[in-house]
């Protein structure tokens, strides 16, 4: 569905995308995870035909993307990071305008507008002026406006920024449902939880380069540990941390110790050790590592710090 072939994009002396190659098959829910300024929005804008790369090629559904060609744009829908709506107009007027620009007319346009309102659960507010909507409702309408022409490829550029949890869940469910109908979704975010929850494949991007690419499980295998155990810091656990240092990596984060066992270290040995110190099992929580750990491992920086 989408191919990026050695794509480079610069803004003056700043390299926003550095020789990026990527292939996304039809029907995939692809996540683009990276901090602000990593190059996510630039990649989206190149795919949407809003900008032209200095070198390389972008192909959508078999059609090369250029700023002048309109063909590739009919296959895609863009949900911009900002609320790209006419706030003084009603929700219905907005959708009719964007649908019209996609070439929809008459009964088809009306049917698609009705369908979009039903999908984002805003049918009862269709005649309200958009500026009277809550942030979450505006986000949902922002999404609906990109779907009227039933695109094969949906580009979501951080679509949940500033959205309350309830609206965020509604958006997630809607996107997953859309993906199940065969729509390819590219979802850029700097929230690892969103990428973990939604995406079948994730690309971690930083400083304009794709650092890692694969499913969540594949990415986690890049880590030198498989599990992570946290327990409270204090006098009672101090002797334990000294013992654990030879078994893996121990760090302290906000009053909590985090133990990442070296590969091959059996968890049964860990709990045998804690029993020997007389520490109850309820103090210890075992986690599966997150994308945060992968990002930290790859860049030496925390994703959240960005």
């Amino acid at each position: 569905m989408l191919q990026l072939q050695s794509v480079t994009k610069r803004y003056g002396s700043v390299v926003a995308l550095d020789d990026v190659s990527l292939e996304i098959p039809a029907g995939e829910f692809f996540g683009l995870l990276g901090p602000n300024g990593a190059g996510k929005s630039t990649l989206m804008s190149l795919v949407a035909g809003l900008r032209q790369p200095e070198s390389g090629r972008v192909v959508v559904d078999g059609t090369p993307v250029t700023q002048t060609s309109l063909d590739s744009r009919r296959a895609l829908g863009l949900v911009p990071q900002s609320i790209a709506l006419f706030l003084e107009l009603t929700a219905e007027e907005n959708l009719r305008i964007f649908g019209g620009l996609q070439g929809l007319r008459g009964a088809t346009l009306k049917a698609r507008v009705d369908e979009a309102f039903a999908a984002v659960q805003l049918a009862d507010r269709r005649r309200s002026v958009v500026k009277s909507f809550s942030g979450g409702m505006q986000r949902r309408l922002n999404l609906a406006a990109a779907l009227l022409h039933r695109p094969k490829l949906l580009l979501c550029d951080e679509p949940t920024v500033g959205v309350d949890p309830q609206s965020r869940n509604a958006i997630f469910e809607f996107l997953q449902q859309l993906n199940r109908t065969g729509v390819t979704v590219i979802y850029s975010t700097h929230y690892m939880e969103e990428a973990e929850r939604l995406c079948s494949r994730i690309g971690i991007i930083d400083h304009g380069r794709i650092l890692a690419l694969g499913s969540l499980d594949q990415l986690l295998t890049q880590l030198p540990f498989e599990d992570e155990i946290t327990f409270p810091a204090g006098d009672a656990t101090a002797p334990l941390t000294r013992q654990l240092a030879s078994c893996g990596e121990v760090s302290r984060v906000n009053g909590t110790h985090r133990f990442r066992p070296r590969p091959g270290y059996p968890l049964s040995s860990f709990f045998t050790l804690t029993e020997s110190f007389g520490l109850p099992p309820r103090l210890f929580v075992t986690h599966r590592p997150t994308l945060e750990a992968v990002f930290l491992h790859l860049t030496g920086r925390m994703l959240r710090d960005n």
Partner: protein, 478 residues
């Protein structure tokens, strides 16, 4: 094209929802035009400037000075002040010292002194002092003009008295009396009339027929004199005699004021715009309408920055829409907005000032359309070159005001220095205002205004091309 029309519809819908924009576009200009109508005297018949305070100190005992005072008081342009109030509330005649202080204090800005030696012995002519504190150049010129007109209307009598005094000095009393008696007898014999009355008038300096001897019982018709020379020879009576001048219609102020126009007869004929009810309104409303339109379309064009910053163009341009669609839709919106705004303002001009806007509808529409197109393109140009909406608004204010002043939106370019007049022809305001004035004032037809409409269309086209080029070059939409 359908993309452009959809975007145009969007802009119109957006505008219709923006109450503040509607108020600024229509209500404010209508209110200002109404206000300017009062300022420029466009309501009803414009009487011109009135009630300008002029102090007059009459130190002269001469009858001609009294006559001049009477004429000045009759002039509606002036409020003549002749008295000063004492500390105890009583009034006294003004003195030169009074008016000098009052001028300095800006109590009034003009004063006329008719000095006691208004006629200086041994010299022909009249001496009058005009003191000013001309804070306003235009007002000073107006006052000068009206004062000169009033004084020169009384020149015959003023000079007549001067001539009599010079003659008395030169001839001596006896020969002077004999000369006047001989002249009065000759006039009476030739034109009829009482030689004694004629002599009395001559000695008062009134050769030309104004009855100012001061006699209560005098018949104003008896003067005769030079005023009779420019009219047709009196018709013969039935018995073959000539009707004496003494029975001609009485002389009056109009006759006296008309003296110079009889000597130099200028025939004035208005060739164009004769039927226009309120010619000054035609120019004023047209000029200000163009200025307001420039402000409106500039403001509208700068909203392109708001839409860009809101990310709307990301969505639009990721659909089958090109940047040129966005720009031409905005240009068309500016034209529609301009047509409506000029139309509303001209309609207001019709309601307020009796402007005749439907007599040459086709010609008017041609100028409105091309003028609106030129203004809309101008708004796009400002947006294309400005780095931000705030900068665009600042640039627009500066350029619109400058172009309106230079282009003749405020007052005719013929008042301006030559080099400004040359420069004004390079502005769209000049051609739009001239075009509107051609239609509204001179009643020109569509064919006659086509050259000006063509120039405006050309300006619109070239400016729009430059704007599109600039938008593309600056990568505005990226």
């Amino acid at each position: 094209m359908s993309q452009i029309l959809i975007l145009l519809r969007k802009s119109l819908l957006n505008f219709s929802r923006a109450r503040a924009a509607i108020a600024i576009t229509f209500i404010v200009p209508i209110a200002l035009i109404y206000l300017f109508g009062h300022v420029f005297g466009l309501f009803g018949n414009n009487p011109g400037p009135e009630h300008i305070k002029v102090a007059v100190v009459n130190e002269s005992p001469e009858p001609a000075a009294r006559e001049l005072m009477r004429a000045l008081k009759a002039e509606k342009t002036f409020d003549i002040v002749t008295e000063a109030r004492n500390a105890n509330g009583t009034v006294r005649p003004l003195t030169e010292a009074d008016v000098r202080q009052a001028l300095y204090d800006n109590n009034y800005r003009y004063a006329l002194i008719l000095p006691s030696d208004m006629y200086r012995d041994g010299r022909f002519g009249v001496r009058i002092k005009f003191l000013t504190n001309p804070r306003n150049e235009i007002e000073a010129q107006t006052v000068n003009g009206v004062l000169q007109k009033t004084i020169f209307s009384n020149v015959p009598q003023l000079l007549g008295q001067s001539l009599q005094r010079s003659a008395r000095n030169y001839l001596g009393d006896e020969r002077y009396a004999r000369f006047n008696q001989t002249m009065a007898d000759t006039i009476a014999n030739t034109f009829g009339g009482d030689p004694a009355v004629i002599r009395e008038r001559m000695e008062a300096g009134n050769f030309f027929g104004a009855a100012t001897t001061g006699r209560q019982d005098e018949a104003p018709a008896v003067a005769g004199g030079l005023r009779r020379l420019d009219v047709a020879k009196p018709a013969g009576t039935a018995d073959g005699t000539t009707q004496p001048a003494a029975t001609a219609p009485a002389s009056n102020d109009a006759d006296r004021k008309d003296l110079f126009s009889r000597i130099v007869n200028i025939q004035t004929e208005q060739v164009a715009g004769k039927q226009t009810k309120n010619p000054m309104a035609a120019r004023t409303v047209g000029g200000y309408a163009i200025m307001f339109l420039l402000f409106a379309v500039s403001g509208s064009a700068t909203s392109i920055f708001e839409e860009r910053d809101a990310g709307v163009y990301q969505r639009l341009l990721s659909s089958p829409v090109r940047p040129s669609h966005v720009l031409w839709a905005r240009f068309l919106f500016g034209i529609v907005l301009g047509l409506v705004q000029i139309g509303v303002l001209l309609l207001a001009g019709q309601v307020f000032f009796g402007l005749q806007i439907f007599q040459h509808a086709a010609a008017l529409f041609a100028i409105m359309l091309t003028g609106a197109a030129a203004c809309s393109a101008f708004g796009m140009l400002i947006a294309a070159f400005a780095p931000s909406a705030a900068a665009a608004n600042g640039i627009a204010t500066f350029v619109v005001l400058s172009m309106s002043a230079v282009g003749g939106a405020w007052f005719p370019t013929s008042f301006m220095p030559g080099y400004i007049q040359t420069f004004s022809k390079m502005t769209l305001v000049y051609w739009a205002v001239e075009g509107l004035t051609d239609v509204l004032w001179a009643g020109r037809s569509l064919l006659e205004v086509l050259p000006k409409a063509g120039i405006l269309a050309g300006i619109a086209f070239v400016v729009m091309l430059v704007s599109v080029w600039r938008f593309n070059r600056s990568k505005f939409f990226e």
